[in-house]
Symmetry: C2
Subunit: 505 residues, 2 copies
Amino acid sequence: METLEELRILDREIVLLEHMSAVLAWDQESYLPKNGMNERAEQLAFLDSLAHEKITSPKIAELLDKAGSTGKNPSGPESIAFMDRAYLRLMRRRHEQAAKLPAGLVKEFSRATSLAQAAWVEAKTNDNFQLFSKHLSAVLCLKREYASCLKPGASSYDALLDEHEEGSTEAETRLLFSCLKSELMAILDKIKGCANIDNSMLHRPCPVSSQTKLARYMMDKLHYDWDSGRIDVSAHPFTTILGESDIRITTRYDKNYFPSGLFSTMHETGHALYELGINPAHEYKRTSLAKAASSGLHESQSRFWENMIGRSLGFWAQNFLAMKSMLGSAFVDLELNAFYMAINKVEPSLTRVEADEVTYALHIILRFELEAALFGGNLTVDELPAAWNQGMQDMLGLKPKNDSLGCLQDIHWALGLFGYFPSYALGNLYAAQLWEAMEKDGIKPEASAAAGDLASILDWLRSNIHKQGSIYKPEELIKKASGRELDPGCFVKYLNRKYGALYNF
Amino acid sequence: METLEELRILDREIVLLEHMSAVLAWDQESYLPKNGMNERAEQLAFLDSLAHEKITSPKIAELLDKAGSTGKNPSGPESIAFMDRAYLRLMRRRHEQAAKLPAGLVKEFSRATSLAQAAWVEAKTNDNFQLFSKHLSAVLCLKREYASCLKPGASSYDALLDEHEEGSTEAETRLLFSCLKSELMAILDKIKGCANIDNSMLHRPCPVSSQTKLARYMMDKLHYDWDSGRIDVSAHPFTTILGESDIRITTRYDKNYFPSGLFSTMHETGHALYELGINPAHEYKRTSLAKAASSGLHESQSRFWENMIGRSLGFWAQNFLAMKSMLGSAFVDLELNAFYMAINKVEPSLTRVEADEVTYALHIILRFELEAALFGGNLTVDELPAAWNQGMQDMLGLKPKNDSLGCLQDIHWALGLFGYFPSYALGNLYAAQLWEAMEKDGIKPEASAAAGDLASILDWLRSNIHKQGSIYKPEELIKKASGRELDPGCFVKYLNRKYGALYNF
C-alpha cells in the first residue's frame, strides 16, 4: 500500500530525530562538561521542535485521511491488514496529540527541562532545594499548559497519565492504588511482627571496579547484546534508545552498598531487553510501531528482571558463587541464604529505587498523590518538600533528614515526567501477571533461573511482549499475553507467598 | 544592522546543526556499539543535509544581497564596520561554495564517510586493505564529484586545498613542498653522519592508568578548561566542537610507548586551546565568524604545543620530575637530558603521527603527492598500497611491513578529508613563524616554559590568533600576527638550531 509506505517514510524521519535527541541527552547525562549545558539545551530544543513540526505536518494528516483513518475510526477500513490498522490508529493518535501542542511550547519545554536537569543535579549534590525550585516551577507551569492543551477542560493530570499508559485516568489509578495500599499495609503489618532480618553485610565497602565487573556479568547472564549497546554511569540510572540497534543503559555505584548498582543494572537491563526485542514486522522497522506498548509494560520488564528474577533464590543459587568471587575479600563469609534474606529485607526506607518489593509501591503512591495535588492546584512547588516529608511520615513512618533524601531524590520531575511514576507500580502488577502466564505455558521461571536457563524466560517475553511493539494498546497486550485483564491480585499473591516464606507468617 | 542580525540568526542555526553532528560523530568514534553504525550514518546524513539546505537557502542569498554583498564585492560597502564586512565575505563564500553542491551528493557523501570510518577501523585492526578499498573508492568517487562541482574545469584537487586553506593551489603547494623537501633532506643527511641517540627507554611498558594521569596533568599545565571539554580514547586522536563551550579531545595509549599518548594529547590540546580562545565579538558568538581561520593555522597551534613547547628542554626542565613520578617504577633511572634527546631522536619511520620534527613533513609530502595523483587521475585506489610503499622507500628508505603501517595508518581519507594533509606541514611553518613573532614581542617561549609560565605564551596566541576567529583570511592573519607573509625559512632555521645543538652538526 503506497500511502502507508509514504507515511512510514515520514515517520522514520521523526523516529530518527527522536534517536538523535536521545544521543544528545545520553551525552548530557553521562559526559557533558558543565559549560556545554546551555548550548545543549538549545540543541535539544531544536531537535524536539523539528520532530514536533514533522509529526504535526499537514502531509501526515493527508496521508492518514487517504489511508482511511478518521478521528472516529482511527484504524481505517477493516479491509486492510491488522498491523496496518494498528499503525494507522497509532499515528492518528500521535499526530492528533502533537497537533494540540503549540510549537513554541514544545521548544520552551525542551529547553526548560534540559536546564532543570542540570539544576537538579546541583541541587541534589548540594542538598539545596532552592537551587531547583525555580526550575521546577518553570517546568511545572509549562507542563500544566501542555496538559491542558492535550485535554482542555478535563483534569489535566488525566492527560499526562494517558500519555504514559493509554486509557489511564486519575480516578481509576486512585482506586487501584487505594486497594493496593491496603494490601501492602497488611503485609507490612504482618512483617512487623516477625523476626528482623540482618542485612548489615550488604553495607560493607565494595570497590567500584568489582561492582563494574559484577554489573557486566549480570548483563551477560541476562543476554544483553553488547554489540547493540553499552553501560555507563550517570546520576540517575536510565535506559535510552540512541538507534534501533543502540540501546544503552546507565547505572550508579555506591561504594558502601553494592546492591544499589547491582539491582539498578538488572532493572535497566530489563528495559533494554524489551527495546532490543521489539520487531513487529520488517516493513515497520524504525517506525513508531516499533516502540514499546506503554510505560507500565516497560516497567514490567525492568522490575521482572530486577525483582522477580534478580531477588529470587533460584537465580542466586546459580549466580551466588560467581558474584562472591567478584566482590572480593570483604565478602568471603557471605552465605547464600543470608544473602537472599538480606536483599529481600522489608523495611520502610526513604529511597524509592532501593525500596523492597512490599514498600516500593507506597513510594509511588506518595508521588502520585503529590503530582495529582500539583496538577489539581492543591499544592505549590514551595510547599512540596514539606508535603513530601509529611507523606513519608504518614505512609512509612519516616522523615527524610534532608531534601536530597526527600523530594529531590528522583530526576523525573526535572525531566518534566509527570504522570510517569504510576507506571512503576503498574509494572509490578503486570510483571506478576506475566509470571503466572508463563507458568501456565509450562515455564517455571524460578526453576529455570536456578538451572541457569534465562533464555526460555526471555524467549517467552520476547514473543508475548517485546516483539509486538505498539501493535496493541497496553490493556489489549496484557490480555493477549496473560488471557485476562490487569489483576492486582497476582502481585499480592506473589508477595504473600514470597514474604510469607521469608518471614514465616 | 537589522539584516546582519537576521543573517547571524540563520547562521547560528547552521552552526548548531554542525555542533550536533559533532556530538554524533564524537560518540561514533568513542562509544558507539557496532550495531549502531548503520543508523548513525543515517542520522549524520540527515543533519548534514539539513545544514546544507539551510546554508544554501535563498533567504541567506537575499540577506547577503540586501547587506550589499555581491559576488564581485563579497564584503559589501566600505561604509559598514570592518568585522561586519569580514562576516559578509565569509558567509558569501560559505553560501556560494555550498550552493555548488547538489543536496543528494551532500547526503550521499555523509553516509559514505560514516560507513567508511567503521570499515577503516576494521581494515586497520585486521590489516586488510580489501575491507576498506571498496569504501575508499566510493568516498573518492563522491569527493571527485564534490571537487568538480566546486571548481568545474579546474584541477579538482585545487578546490579541496582551497577548502582547508583559502587560496591554496596544487602548483603553489608543490613548489613550497619541493623547497621544504630539499631543506629537510639536507638536515637529515647531516644527522645521518652524527652519533646515534638511544631512545630505547621510551619503549618500556607503561600502564595506561599512568599515561591517563600524565595526559590530564599535561592538559592542566596547558591551561585546558575542564569545564568546557573532556578527554576520551579513540582509534585516531582528534579534537571536536560539540558546542561553543564543549571542545573535546581524544587520544590513544600505547602500553609500550608512552610518548604516543603524551604527545598526541598535547597536540589535540593545542587544537582545543585555539577553539576555546575564539571570540571575535559578542554579537558574533556561535556564528561562522567564531570559527578557526584555516586548517593550517589550526595545525600551527597543535604542533606548536606538541613540538615547539612539548619537545623543548625548557618545558621538561619544569615538568620532568612530575612526569617521572607518574610513570612509576619502570622509569626511576630516567634522566632529563637523555629523555630530551630521546623524544627528539631523528630517524626515518613508518608512522606520521610519531615522526620526528625533521621527517614529519616528508610523510605529508608523500600524502600530498598521492592525493594529487588520485585526483589527477594518475592513480587508482587499488594501486594505492603499492604507490604508498614505493613512496616511503624513495623518500625515507623504508618499506611498511603491512598496510596498517602503510596507507591504512590515517583516518583522513575515510572521513573524506582530501586536501587536509598539507595543513600539518603548513602548521609547522606557521608555528615557527609565530614563535619568532612572539620573541619580537619580548616573550621567550622556551624560557617561559622553563619557568612554568605557559600562560604568557597562551595569552599571546589568544590575542594574535585564537580570538580573531575567521575575521581574516589565513594569509592576512599570519601577516598581521608576524608582520610578514608565510616564510618557510623560520621553520628551517628552527630545525637547524635545535637539531644542530642536539646532534652537534
